[in-house]
C-alpha cells in the first residue's frame, strides 16, 4: 500500500518535470529557462528522497544532497551570463 502511494508520488513528480519542459520551450528569456532548471533540480531532489524510501536504498539521499549542493554552481555560472537586455 505504502509502496504504491510512494510510486504514485514519483509518477506525479515526473509529470511535473515534463510540465516544466513547456517553460523551457516557451522561454521567452534565458532567466525563465534557468528558473525551470532550478525547479527541475528541486523536483529531482524530491524524487530522489521519495525513491530512497520507495526502493529502500538510503544512499539515494546522498545523491539528493549532491544535487542540492551542486545546483548552486550552475546558478552561479548562469548569473554571469549576459542578460537578454545586453543582447544585440
Amino acid at each position: 500500500m505504502t509502496a504504491t502511494v510512494l510510486g504514485l508520488a514519483v509518477v506525479f513528480l515526473l509529470l511535473n518535470l515534463l510540465a516544466g519542459l513547456w517553460r523551457i520551450g516557451a522561454g521567452p528569456t534565458a532567466a525563465d529557462r534557468m528558473l525551470a532548471v532550478l525547479l527541475f533540480g528541486s523536483t529531482t531532489v524530491a524524487l530522489l528522497l521519495i525513491m530512497a524510501q520507495w526502493l529502500g536504498d538510503a544512499s539515494l539521499r546522498t545523491v539528493a544532497l549532491l544535487f542540492v549542493v551542486l545546483a548552486t554552481i550552475v546558478t552561479l555560472a548562469f548569473v554571469g551570463t549576459p542578460s537578454d537586455q545586453e543582447r544585440p
Partner: protein, 309 residues
C-alpha cells in the same frame, strides 16, 4: 509493481525524447538547459536501476560541472549565436543514423543472446570482498581488484592536464568572466555553500569504503567547490604552476605507484593494497588530484592563487 513500470516507461521515453531535442535543437541556450535536464534524468534512471554509485557520479559531473562548463562556454562564445540557423545535410544524417542504428541493434541483439556465465567476475568480487575490509563492492573493484586500471585512469587525467597546458602555451591564463561577489546573495551563498561542498566531499570519501561514494565522486564535488571559488574570483588563475600545484596534480598517481611498488618490495604481489589504510591514503590523494586537475582545466590555468595574494 505496475507503478514501477510506469515510472520506468516515463524515464525511458523522456530520455529518448530529450536526447533527440538536445541533438537536433538550434537554440543554443535552450539546448544547454535541456542537456542539464538530461543529466538530471540520467541520474534518476541510475537511481531507479539500483546503481547509486553511478547516480552520484552523474549528479556531480553531469548535472553540476558539465552544466557550469557549458554555460561558461556559452558566455565566452558571445551573444550572437542564440538562434543560429543550422545547415542540415539529410543524406549524411540518414547514412549516419542507419549506421549507428544498426550498430546499436547488433550490439543489443548480441547482448540479448549472452548467457550468464556461472563464474563471472561479479560473483568472484562479492565472494572475495569481505577479505579486503571494504564493504562497497565498487570501491573494492576500483582499488583492490582492478587497481591498475584506476591507476591508469589517474594517468589519463594527468595527461589531459599536461595536454591542456601544452595547448595553453605561454598564453596568459584564461580570463574567467567572474561573478561580482557584491551582487546580492552571491557572497553569502559562497560562504555557506563552499564549506558544505568540502564537508560533502570528505563525507563521500570516507563513506566510499562502506557505502556508495569514493574518490571520484568526492573529487567531483571538491571540483565543484573549486569552480565556485574560481567563478566568484576567490581563486584567481595564474600562468605558473607552483611546486604545491605540481605535487597535488600527481599526488593520486604517485600514491598509487608508491603504495603498489612498496607492496612489491615488501614481498607481496606488486599493486596489492595491504590494508584499508592504503585505500584511504590513495583515495585521499586521488580526490585532491582529481579536484585540482579539473579545477585547473575549468579555469584554463596552470596554477591558482588566493585573492589578494
Amino acid at each position: 509493481m505496475t507503478v514501477g513500470i510506469v515510472v520506468d516507461m516515463m524515464l525511458g521515453l523522456a530520455l529518448v525524447a530529450l536526447s533527440l531535442r538536445v541533438v537536433t535543437g538550434t537554440a543554443l541556450f535552450r539546448d544547454i538547459v535541456l542537456f542539464i535536464l538530461f543529466g538530471l534524468l540520467v541520474a534518476l534512471s541510475w537511481a531507479r536501476l539500483g546503481a547509486p554509485d553511478l547516480a552520484l557520479a552523474e549528479a556531480a559531473i553531469g548535472a553540476g560541472l558539465t552544466g557550469a562548463l557549458m554555460l561558461m562556454a556559452y558566455r565566452s562564445i558571445g551573444t550572437d549565436t542564440e538562434e543560429r540557423p543550422v545547415r542540415r545535410r539529410p543524406a549524411v544524417a540518414l547514412v549516419v543514423a542507419v549506421l549507428t542504428g544498426s550498430l546499436v541493434a547488433v550490439i543489443g541483439l548480441a547482448a540479448l543472446g549472452i548467457e550468464r556465465v556461472p563464474d563471472a567476475a561479479g560473483d568472484a568480487v562479492l565472494e572475495a570482498l569481505p577479505g579486503t575490509g571494504l564493504r562497497n563492492a565498487v570501491t573494492g573493484v576500483l582499488l583492490v581488484f582492478r587497481g591498475l586500471d584506476t591507476m591508469l585512469e589517474m594517468a589519463v587525467l594527468l595527461v589531459a592536464l599536461l595536454g591542456a597546458w601544452t595547448v595553453l602555451g605561454d598564453a596568459r591564463p584564461g580570463r574567467v568572466h567572474r561573478v561580482d561577489r557584491r551582487t546580492p546573495l552571491v557572497g553569502s551563498l559562497l560562504t555557506v555553500v563552499a564549506p558544505i561542498t568540502l564537508l560533502v566531499a570528505v563525507h563521500l570519501l570516507l563513506a566510499g569504503t562502506d557505502a556508495p561514494g569514493g574518490a571520484f565522486q568526492a573529487g567531483a564535488v571538491l571540483t565543484g567547490c573549486g569552480v565556485l571559488m574560481v567563478l566568484t574570483g576567490t581563486l584567481r588563475p595564474t600562468a605558473v604552476a607552483g611546486f604545491a600545484t605540481r605535487l597535488l596534480v600527481v599526488a593520486g598517481l604517485a600514491a598509487f605507484v608508491l603504495v603498489g611498488a612498496g607492496a612489491g618490495f615488501a614481498g607481496h604481489a606488486p599493486m596489492t593494497l595491504t590494508g584499508t589504510w592504503a585505500v584511504y591514503l590513495i583515495e585521499t590523494a586521488m580526490m585532491l588530484s582529481i579536484a585540482l586537475t579539473m579545477t585547473l582545466l575549468f579555469a584554463r590555468a596552470r596554477g591558482l592563487r588566493g585573492e589578494g595574494s
